[in-house]
Amino acid sequence: MDKKEYIEYVEARSKKSPIIQNLIRAFLIGGAICSLGQALLELYRLFIVELKDAQALVSITLIAIAILLTGIGIFDNIARVAGAGTLVPITGFANAIASCAIDTKSEGYVMGVGAKIFSISGPVILFGTFSGVIYGIFYYFITMFWG
């Protein structure tokens, strides 16, 4: 193929998928994951009285599914289509953990998997916990003076 053909080829391949299409995909797949979660929640509520416990079990189930799909290599294919649709639900968090762990196993289990399993989830846990502490300080003093 000559230079001109090559440029045309590259342009055709790198044509950005339209934003509207991305939004629709993210909406449909993200929504589907959340309604799967809701269906699981309704199921677990038959056995578990505490709503919070049932919600935690839903998260754990979705995490387990996402990690399994990551391991067998299907998750990436779904994520490529879904974009934020698989990123934003808890599945994105689980995928980040599992794919970091799997990709770094050649670097050893302590400084490879052990350290890098946190390379995306670490910031999420750190800043989540930190903002929780700030909220806690406000909540503690507000309830102390007005509670």
Partner: protein, 122 residues
């Protein structure tokens, strides 16, 4: 019929959270990791000012499954722990609220790394 309606609510609200993130990805230069961090912090903030609780009551998993729900669990854990234990709860509540999810993800992630090999990126 309740189940169908609840699932539909979860679909609409959960989908909406994903659409916002997709807009941020397409329109700004935010990386996915930053979006996850923003979502968790936004979840804590919205729960703190009392906005997120009603969304959870309405949408169920549509609000708890997106990562903002992770922030909701952190903030709720902090609040519960402070109510029960006082000031110590500021430090113990956040991780307690999300312990199940974090532990499951880390342990299963480690097991996955034992079983599976990394695939070449396409």
């Amino acid at each position: 019929m309740d189940i169908v309606i609840n699932c539909l609510k979860a679909f609409l609200i959960g989908g909406a959270f994903c659409v916002v993130a997709q807009l941020l990805i397409d329109k700004t230069k935010l990386t996915p990791a930053r979006i996850l961090v923003c979502y968790v912090c936004a979840g804590v903030f919205l729960t703190a000012i009392g906005v997120y609780g009603p969304i959870v009551d309405f949408a169920g998993c549509g609000a708890t499954v997106p990562l903002t729900g992770f922030g909701y669990a952190i903030a709720n854990g902090v609040k519960t722990a402070i109510d029960e234990k006082g000031a110590l709860g500021i430090l113990t509540g956040g991780i307690t609220g999300t312990a199940g999810g974090i532990t499951a993800a880390l342990c299963l992630g480690l097991i996955a790394s034992l079983i599976f090999k990394s695939k070449p990126k396409k």
